[in-house]
């Protein structure tokens, strides 16, 4: 199947970041956004662990072992970076200063709900900073593979798994394209090269609306 690879999904979402935004990148595919060339836009990447103003992941041998992003990757710092502790980092988050948080998810619903902290039959979960970010950031973007390994859709009418936060997702990048939750379905903002509307609709658990 054609479509976008992981870095291309990240690149496509990163194109949406506006000049001057403060952007939080979650574990997994979202962290790839900081590798994207953002041209002359001023973007500040913020990580939950108090790193303000980081840049691309560094190659082996060039890492500073005291410095990781939210995904545990050894990143670089951009000029003007600052370090704060976890409470100050989440002060930035809860006070609404994050322009967009980009996260992975298990499921996204057409009403903007998403689920990324607990799989159905597990006793525990992995929340991390996702609930703080999703409840307080100005925008929530999600990056995820369009379907599960067994081909089940992840873009749904309603989440089956316990939600992380309700009604907050405004943009979703998958390997098949860029979609916006629109209440009863997902508006198709863009399809990845080689992906037809019908292919995307078949892989989606909610109506797709021509964008």
């Amino acid at each position: 199947m054609s479509g976008w690879d992981r870095q291309q999904m990240a690149d496509r979402l990163a194109r949406e970041f506006q000049d001057g935004w403060i952007v939080n990148l979650g574990v997994g595919i979202p962290t790839l956004c900081s590798n994207t060339d953002i041209g002359d836009r001023d973007i500040i990447y913020h990580a939950e662990n108090g790193v303000i103003g980081y840049g691309p992941v560094l190659p082996p041998g060039q890492e500073d072992l005291h410095l990781v992003n939210a995904g545990g990757q050894n990143v670089s710092l951009r000029p003007g970076a600052a370090i704060v502790h976890h409470a100050d980092s989440f002060a930035i988050i809860r006070s609404g200063r994050i322009d967009v948080t980009v996260m992975g998810a298990y499921e996204v619903a057409a009403n903007g709900d998403f689920a990324n902290w607990r799989i159905g039959d597990a006793k525990g979960g992995g929340i991390g900073g996702a609930m703080d970010l999703a409840a307080c950031a100005r925008r929530v973007f999600i990056i995820l593979e369009h379907t599960t390994r067994t081909g089940e859709p992840r873009l749904l009418r309603a989440c089956n798994l316990p939600v992380t936060t309700r009604g907050v997702v405004t943009l979703v990048a998958t390997n098949l394209g860029l979609f916006a939750p629109a209440g009863d379905g997902f508006a198709v903002r863009e399809l990845a090269p080689g992906v037809s509307f019908e292919t995307a609709q078949t892989a989606t658990g909610a109506p797709l609306l021509p964008g």
Partner: protein, 246 residues
């Protein structure tokens, strides 16, 4: 000074008096700031029925480093309070998870920002506060909420602890600490929240006053015991990744 100072010779001595039932916060986020050496000493010391507070129980990646998961495997833990009690990828499994699923250990799952703020509140004499985080989710079920200026918030309580195990870059003999880069994470907050803060320190302990007062990250008021980390192989160095390279 002829008085007993805060510096301890070794990790074993620094954790020797920790009793069964203690509540201990463990610093660190994805490597930096994790008190591997103090945790290793606690594994040997053997205190039981511990409550362990940390971002995660650890052990999602190889090679294992001393972590809360190992304390669980060693039968030392009654309860964990963490932002991760399962791995984020369904295909991974934390060493802690089967113990939890069998009911051998309790767990309280707390959003990471709420965890940080509850520790900070404990260290700031604030017994409770309201937060927007987790409102409307399974974690808020049956709990007290309050509408303030038209938005719903969840009541959260301070999270005090008996001990904090943290790791710092530099310390002076008065206990003033500096962290390097993302090593800071939970360290200053756990030091505030704890009655007794024990710090493993990467650089040799500096004389009192060697750190510029404007550049102290955690005041010695919050710090009780300092232990320099010995060089490898006895001491564990900066991160899992460096360890892996050996």
């Amino acid at each position: 000074m002829t008085k007993p100072g805060k510096a301890f010779d070794n990790m074993v001595a620094a954790v020797a008096d920790i009793p069964d039932g203690a509540v201990i916060a463990f610093g660190g986020f994805a490597g930096p700031g994790t008190p591997y050496n103090l945790t290793k000493a606690l594994l040997a010391q053997g205190a039981k029925r511990l409550t362990c507070i940390a971002n995660t129980t650890g052990g999602a990646q190889q090679p294992r480093m001393p972590d809360i998961g190992m304390l669980v495997e060693n039968g030392q833990v009654a309860k964990v309070i963490c932002a991760f009690t399962a791995a984020t990828r369904p295909t991974d499994q934390l060493p802690f998870t089967p113990y939890y699923e069998r009911g051998e250990v309790e767990a309280e799952l707390v959003p990471q920002g709420t965890l940080a703020e509850r520790l900070r509140a404990a260290g700031a004499g604030i017994p409770a506060f309201y937060t927007p985080t987790a409102v409307g989710t399974e974690l808020a079920r049956g709990r007290e909420t309050r509408i303030i200026h038209g938005r719903e918030y969840l009541l959260e309580y301070a999270l005090p602890c008996d001990y904090a195990f943290i790791r710092a870059w530099r310390a002076d003999a008065a206990g003033n600490l500096q962290f390097r880069l993302s090593q800071r994470n939970f360290g200053p907050l756990m030091a505030m929240a704890a009655r007794t803060t024990i710090v493993e320190v990467e650089e040799p302990i500096l004389p009192v006053g060697a750190i510029d007062p404007d550049q102290v990250h955690t005041s010695g008021i919050f710090v009780h015991r300092l232990v320099p980390i010995p060089p490898p192989p006895e001491g564990l160095w900066t991160t899992r990744r460096q360890e892996r390279a050996k």
